[in-house]
């Protein structure tokens, strides 16, 4: 970073932000920042059909596999209270061609908004009620389908049909109760294939699949608590046994704010393990923006008098910046008064305040990166003299930052407007934004954060009453709570590293069955949490198949040490008979007397002298024969006896 001006005061230190890595951060770090986090966890339900049409749910296609394409544009509409939503207006500015790729198998005329919705999927509603009860929410008397506007095009109607099932619930996190604001059932959106310039392409396979969204209050006070909360909700939804698992089946939006900052939503976080790093960095990004704000206030005073200037470039000026401006035909220079040194101010690892401008240029003005350069950038290939010359065009002084934007001529007015708007927002601190989480733990601007004004009643559907007996019927069938499962695992002494897997895979009921049928709790949890998990990775586990293998082994009076081999094998080869599995595992039947006879033979044959080595050698010879027929401890005792 370029050394900040002398007048930038406290910013002119080695680490003006006071940034610490997450590893070095403590609870005090976050308390000091005033860190608050709330979650919006989206979970696909496992239903046969989509939520509002009769298309099959859960079939995916590659983005290049489609039968037809259609084009739509989205216009903002008014909310029920007669307001336009801020996001809606921003998206409208972008003037995107939205292209939908349809595959006949997975999308119908409802999906492309050419048919009104059909009656809501009752199977989905049943699962949602179950989750609402598990979250201890207050259930509504009547479901009202509401339209939540999304002008990014991710849903061809321009809105998502969604309805609240329950509000005001709670989950246990980090030894306290965290509030659950609401649980809603809604339709999933399209998957984005690409987004370049003015064209965004979506595939409609996932569109319309039933989702539930659990929204917590912003009561998670550290990044780790946020991850713990997300995990708890994941375990809870999976405990129903009626939700999809796998990539994209559960997605988290994470809301973060710090003291003096604003709620910023990090969208579409694919993995819970990303949450701590993303929220940590977002907290520091907000702190950086607050420091920039304080500095601007100090330098510029009243933002109302702040007067940025801009000028188009042409002729020699344009030629001078051409190598930087990626050969674009039009460019403009903008003076941001009082911003000198601030654009290079670090906001996140590898990011500076200038990225806030560049990200918006990409999203709002549809100009691909690189789309700008600035006078604070020490690595800019433009000579200092050129920057000074550009600065003169807009009357910039030492105190000001000069920003160069380029792009297609048609997009330049929006680009200039976007830069000035972001400059103005710097005086307010942290803008309300939706940001996209990246695997490296940083985020980029996605859109302006929508508010309640984007909600509108769905005039295509009638309210759906949720009757008392439906609730009571579901309540009677509720699975054990995640909290109770966690307590049970601890009481059993199940190895720590098995807990997450057993909860995530909803295998606690199976473990309980195994224990009930006589298996030791530690053996049962280890079998599932170690052996099965190592063999199966994160693939789906069929509990019936595991039970079958365990029962078959017991019926044949095989010893329990066959299970760590046979149970995973049974899952990997779901069609094999038990005899085939035994053959694959190289099991041979042997009677106790044969094992004993073999031990005696080995004792005679062995010429090893040292007692322990001799014991080991004999065990090694007999183990394969004894495996499954005699417990190893028994074999060891016999060997001990025979060699004494």
């Amino acid at each position: 970073m370029k050394k900040a001006d002398a007048n930038s005061g406290n910013l002119d230190s080695h680490n003006p932000l006071g940034y610490v890595t997450r590893r070095d951060a403590t609870a005090d770090t976050y308390r000091g920042l005033g860190f608050r986090c709330g979650l919006e966890v989206h979970q696909q339900l496992r239903t046969k059909k989509k939520l509002f049409c009769r298309c099959p749910a859960g079939i995916y296609q590659d983005g290049a596999d489609y039968d037809a394409q259609l084009v739509r544009h989205m216009r903002p509409t008014l909310s029920e209270f007669g307001e336009y939503d801020g996001t809606a207006l921003m998206e409208y500015k972008t003037k995107k061609n939205i292209i939908y790729r349809i595959k006949g198998e997975t999308a119908c005329t409802y999906d492309i908004d050419d048919t009104p919705p059909f009656a809501v999927n009752r199977e989905a509603l049943g699962i949602a009620i179950e989750v609402a009860l598990l979250l201890e929410t207050s259930l509504v008397g009547e479901l009202h389908i509401t339209r939540k506007q999304y002008l990014d095009g991710s849903i061809p109607t321009g809105f998502q049909r969604t309805a609240i099932i329950g509000i005001d619930g709670r989950i246990p996190v980090a030894g306290k109760r965290v509030g659950v604001r609401q649980l809603s059932v809604e339709e999933d959106s399209c998957r984005e294939v690409s987004d370049v310039g003015h064209e965004r392409i979506y595939t409609t396979d996932r569109l319309g699949m039933p989702l539930i969204e659990t929204v917590t209050e912003p009561e998670l006070l550290t990044p780790d608590e946020a991850a713990e909360g997300a995990n708890y909700i994941r375990y809870l939804t999976r405990s129903t046994g009626h939700v999809n698992v796998g990539i994209g089946a559960a997605r988290e939006d994470v809301n973060v704010s710090i003291e003096g900052g604003t709620r910023v939503e990090i969208k579409g976080v694919q993995h819970i393990r990303w949450i701590p790093e993303l929220t940590h960095n977002e907290a520091f990004r907000q702190k950086a923006l607050l420091l920039v704000r304080d500095e601007l206030e100090r330098r510029e005073g009243d933002p109302k008098t702040w007067a940025p200037k801009h000028a188009p470039l042409s002729g020699a000026d344009l030629a001078a910046v051409a190598p930087t401006a990626a050969g674009e035909s039009s460019a403009a220079v903008i003076c941001l008064p009082g911003f000198s040194g601030l654009l290079a101010f670090p906001t996140n690892p590898g990011c500076s305040f200038a990225d806030e401008f560049s990200d918006r240029l990409k999203v709002i003005a549809c100009i691909e990166k690189p789309n700008m350069a600035h006078s604070d950038d020490g690595t800019s290939p433009l000579p200092r003299a050129t920057w000074q010359k550009l600065g003169k065009r807009v009357g910039a002084t030492e105190k000001d930052a000069v920003l160069l934007v380029w792009g297609p001529a048609a997009d330049l007015p929006t680009a200039i407007e976007t830069v000035i708007e972001r400059g103005r927002l710097a005086f307010a601190g942290v803008p309300n934004e939706t940001r996209k989480g990246l695997p490296n733990g940083t985020t980029i601007f996605e859109r302006v954060l929508p508010g309640p004004d984007r909600m509108y009643p769905d005039t295509d559907s009638s309210p759906i009453p949720i009757e008392e007996d439906a609730i009571e019927g579901t309540r009677a069938r509720l699975p054990q709570s995640v909290e109770a499962r966690q307590a049970l695992l601890r009481a059993w002494g199940a190895p720590e590293d098995t807990h997450a897997y057993l909860l995530r895979r909803n295998l606690c009921p199976l473990a309980e069955e195994l224990v009930a049928s006589g298996m030791e709790p530690i053996a049962a949890t280890t079998l599932l949490g170690h052996d099965v998990r190592h063999a199966m990775g994160d693939r789906e586990i069929d509990p019936a198949r595991v039970r079958w293998a365990v029962d078959a082994a017991r019926e044949r009076a095989l010893t329990s040490d066959v299970l760590p081999v046979l149970a995973p094998l049974a899952l990997r080869e779901p069609a094999s008979s038990f005899d085939e599995l035994l053959t694959r595992a190289e099991y041979r039947r042997a009677a106790e007397k044969d094992v004993k006879a073999e031990i005696r033979r080995e004792v005679k044959r062995s010429d090893v002298r040292r007692p322990e080595a001799r014991h080991r050698a004999i065990m090694g010879h007999v183990r394969a024969m004894a495996w499954g027929n005699v417990p190893l401890a028994q074999v060891a005792a016999w060997v001990e006896e025979a060699t004494r």
């Binding site: 489609y66 039968d67 037809a68 394409q69 259609l70 084009v71 739509r72 544009h73 989205m74 216009r75 903002p76 509409t77 008014l78 909310s79 029920e80 209270f81 007669g82 336009y84 349809i102 006949g104 005329t109 492309i112 908004d113 050419d114 048919t115 009104p116 929410t137 207050s138 509504v140 008397g141 009547e142 479901l143 009202h144 509401t146 339209r147 939540k148 506007q149 002008l151 061809p156 109607t157 321009g158 809105f159 969604t162 309805a163 609240i164 509000i167 005001d168 604001r181 609401q182 809603s184 508010g451 309640p452 004004d453 909600m455 509108y456 009643p457 005039t459 009638s462 309210p463 009453p465």
Partner: protein
């Protein structure tokens, strides 16, 4: 009955509101057996049950609360909704054509109706400009709301009022007319206007929307842009219907009023020209004719307004096993004209024949059209057809059934002389009968065919 303060509420729900001393727009705190809720009481659709209150939560979501679960309801304040499209004065300039938008209802611009929970129409130039500012680049727009009825309630009274209003506008020098109309019966009204408004000097463009304008993906704004562009700039001085070509936001089609029909209950691209090709395509950049045999725009202010309509005319859809008493009862009830949509080339079954004879003897005009929609009536091909003609049924060529119905009512509205009626019916006035059917006038491709699948991958639907 509920009053304004309890809009839409009835029965138990109304009682509960009264009991707790709250009403619509009250910001309330509710304690119920299902839990605690806070929000604003919204009006309820009168079609919904009488057991629930509608509450808007602070998050913007609406939920229903069963009044039987209520323990207490406390009013914390009030917040009333003022749903209004931002109204801005429509900018005009002398170098732009003047276009008049005549409103009949429908969903071209609409807002939520809390009473029914459905959308109701609302428009003025200012509102339209607030919602679709692009209109100001196209023309100087003025509007007049003639009636506010849904498409299915449009009838002869409205056709006549509309025809007269068009006559007045033309006389006053307008450059083009747009008619906002619900889509369900737009093709009926279009053909009525085509017969009642003859030789207009300017384009008369009917438009509606399939997705109401309260949704971001609505076709309303684009249809409005297309139709005003056609009215302002097109050289085609006929009555037309302007709606989406494909379901994609790409271009609109201008259909001749007497050859167009709504062909899908909900698709955006529902309007199709039947048995012919459309007149033109239209985008915000202008109109591109697809054919040349249209009436040209003129500078004069001449137009023939022929506002006639006989109400006792019917359109009967024939089906196998139709009984003769259907026809007899029409005659008994004084119907003067019957259009039959027959099978195939224009057929009905033998048992109905005596009723046809009785009807013609009673002086009822009977015309045959085809329920296949595409193709001509050919009553000479089979004996059945010849028999029917001998009994007095007149084949109506390739007039669409609905168009033949409107035209027969219009003809009988002018005269009771059945020979005169026959002349009117069989002389094409506005393209309702065409001499020839082009090979590309019938294009209903079958999905699944490899060549069609190939085509669909390449062309935006």
């Amino acid at each position: 009955m509920s009053d304004e303060a309890h809009k839409g509420y009835k029965g138990e729900a109304l009682d509960a509101l009264v009991r707790f001393g709250v009403g619509v727009w009250s910001d309330v705190d509710i304690d119920s057996t299902r839990g605690h809720f806070r929000g604003i009481v919204l009006p309820r659709s009168e079609f919904d049950d009488s057991r629930h209150l509608v509450l808007k939560l602070p998050t913007g979501y609406n939920v229903g609360i069963d009044v039987r679960t209520l323990r207490s309801v406390k009013e914390l304040g009030r917040r009333e909704a003022h749903y209004k499209i931002p109204e801005k004065e429509f900018p005009t300039s002398p170098d732009k054509p003047n276009v008049k938008l005549l409103g009949t209802g429908g969903t071209i611009a609409s807002r939520l109706d809390y009473r029914t929970g459905a959308v109701i129409p609302a428009f003025s130039p200012g509102e339209l400009y607030g919602a679709v500012p692009e209109l100001a680049d196209i023309c100087n727009l003025s509007t007049e709301k003639l009636f506010a009825v849904f498409s299915e309630n449009m009838g002869p009274t409205q056709y006549i009022a509309l025809a007269k209003a068009i006559g007045r506008e033309i006389e006053n020098g307008i450059d083009g007319i747009v008619i906002g109309h619900g889509t369900d019966t737009m093709h009926h009204t279009a053909s009525a206007l085509a017969f009642m408004v003859q030789h207009p000097p300017v384009p008369i463009v009917m438009v509606g929307s399939q997705r109401s304008s309260d949704r971001p993906s609505s076709d309303a704004a684009r249809n409005l842009i297309h139709s005003t562009t056609a009215a302002a700039t097109s050289d085609i001085a006929e009555v037309m219907v302007c709606m989406f070509g494909p379901t994609s936001d790409e271009y609109g089609l201008l259909h001749r009023a007497t050859r167009v029909r709504k062909m899908h209950s909900s698709y955006r691209s529902t309007f199709r020209t039947i048995g012919d090709i459309p007149l033109a395509t239209v985008t915000r950049n202008g109109v591109t004719p697809l054919r040349q045999d249209y009436a040209r725009r003129r500078d004069d202010r001449h137009v023939d307004i022929l506002p006639y309509f006989e109400e006792r005319v019917t359109l009967t859809y024939y089906y196998p096993n139709m009984h003769p008493d259907i026809i007899d009862s029409l005659v008994e009830h004084g119907y003067k004209g019957i259009v039959i949509a027959g099978t195939g080339l224009g057929h009905i079954n033998k048992p109905v024949y005596p009723a046809i004879e009785r009807a013609t003897a009673a002086g009822v005009a009977i015309y045959m059209t085809v329920q296949t929609l595409w193709g001509y009536v050919h009553m000479f091909v089979y004996d059945t057809g010849r028999d029917l003609m001998a009994k007095g049924i007149i084949p109506a060529e390739n007039m669409l059934p609905e168009v033949a119905y409107i035209k027969l009512a219009w003809a009988l509205g002018q005269t009771n002389d059945l020979d005169r009626v026959r002349d009117i019916m069989l002389t094409s006035i506005a393209g309702e009968i065409t001499e020839r059917e082009p090979h590309d006038g019938y294009l209903i491709f079958q999905g699944g065919m490899p060549e069609i699948q190939e085509f669909l991958r390449k062309v935006h639907k």
